[in-house]
């Protein structure tokens, strides 16, 4: 099977998609990513903004309506979920063969 050209996801992209399984605005994404990654991935505002723009272009996330007039809110799309699952399978496989090899 030919692999999606967006795989493997970068660590940043992976965590942003993971954070957006629930709707969130920019700053909330930054906080969630930091929490999910045990503080290893700290996104700065400019970097996050560019990443969001790129993920919208790829149709992995989409803006959703919200009451907040100043902050756009985003949510993962079906295509985004799919790519996240593909990458999970890739990571699982890597973990499996590595654990076996290092035993």
């Amino acid at each position: 099977m030919k692999r999606d050209k967006n795989l493997p996801l970068t660590e940043t992209t992976f965590y942003i998609l993971l954070a957006l399984l629930e709707r969130a605005h920019g700053y909330l994404i930054m906080q969630k990513v930091e929490e999910l990654s045990d503080g290893h991935v700290r996104l700065a505002a400019g970097t996050l903004y560019g990443a969001i723009e790129n993920l919208i272009k790829l149709k992995f996330i989409m803006p959703v309506p919200s009451d907040d007039k100043r902050r756009k809110v985003y949510l993962i799309t079906d295509k985004g979920r799919e790519i996240l699952r593909f990458d999970l399978e890739r990571i699982k496989h890597m973990a499996k063969v590595t654990e076996k090899a290092l035993k």
Binding site: R42, A45, G46, L48, K72
Partner: protein, 205 residues
């Protein structure tokens, strides 16, 4: 205080603004050069991004992401390109970018806009050339740019009065198009410089 200065290197510009703040000058405008107001000397961290926006809503959302994370948007508008931020929270990180690729990408966005300008000027220049509006003979024989009847036969004060009166019009008629190749050259220079800075930023430690 007003200082006229042009930067292409964002890192240098950020450093310069920081040094000015340490000397007691805070930037309040940069529409034509930089305007500063006097403040008590302070070590202010500035960061610059390059972005233009389709809607006012997009622009507000962008500024809010920064403000939520401790960076106050101080200069820039929806379509100005350069966006200036000042660090206002002790807890926030020292940069608005957390990796080199996104830090370098601002040069690419700026370059793309400059390239659009340069190409439109190029199209205008070509159209002027094709419609015969550019008269290269004027370099050899500038006299033909003067239309005042009997100008070259006049003498003394009458000649100088007529001559000086028409000179601005003659220059406009003959050489105004030079603005276009000059602008194109300036944009191309900026694009070249930005591309070097892009590569340098990617490689930075």
């Amino acid at each position: 205080m007003h200082i006229f200065k042009i930067f292409i290197d964002y890192t240098k510009e950020e450093k310069w603004l920081n040094e000015m703040s340490k000397k007691g000058y805070e930037v309040i405008n940069n529409s034509f050069g930089y305007t500063f107001k006097n403040i008590n000397p302070e070590d202010i961290t500035y960061r610059i991004d390059y972005r233009t926006f389709k809607t006012k809503q997009d622009f507000i959302d962008y500024c809010t992401v920064f403000e939520d994370s401790g960076w106050k948007h101080i200069l820039g508008s929806k379509s100005s390109g350069n966006q200036y931020f000042k660090k206002v929270s002790e807890n926030s990180d020292d940069d608005i970018f957390s990796d080199n690729i996104s830090k370098a990408a601002r040069y690419k966005r700026a370059s793309n806009i400059w390239l659009t300008f340069a190409s439109s000027y190029f199209v205008i220049l070509i159209s002027l050339a094709l419609t015969g509006a550019i008269n290269l003979n004027a370099f050899i024989n500038p006299k033909e740019l003067y239309f005042t009847p009997g100008l070259w036969e006049a003498t003394g004060l009458t000649f100088w009065k007529k001559f000086l009166f028409e000179t601005p019009f003659a220059l406009g008629r003959g050489f105004i198009w030079i603005i276009f190749p000059i602008s194109i050259a300036i944009y191309l220079y900026c694009i070249l410089k930005a591309s070097k800075l892009y590569k340098k930023t990617i490689k930075d430690k």
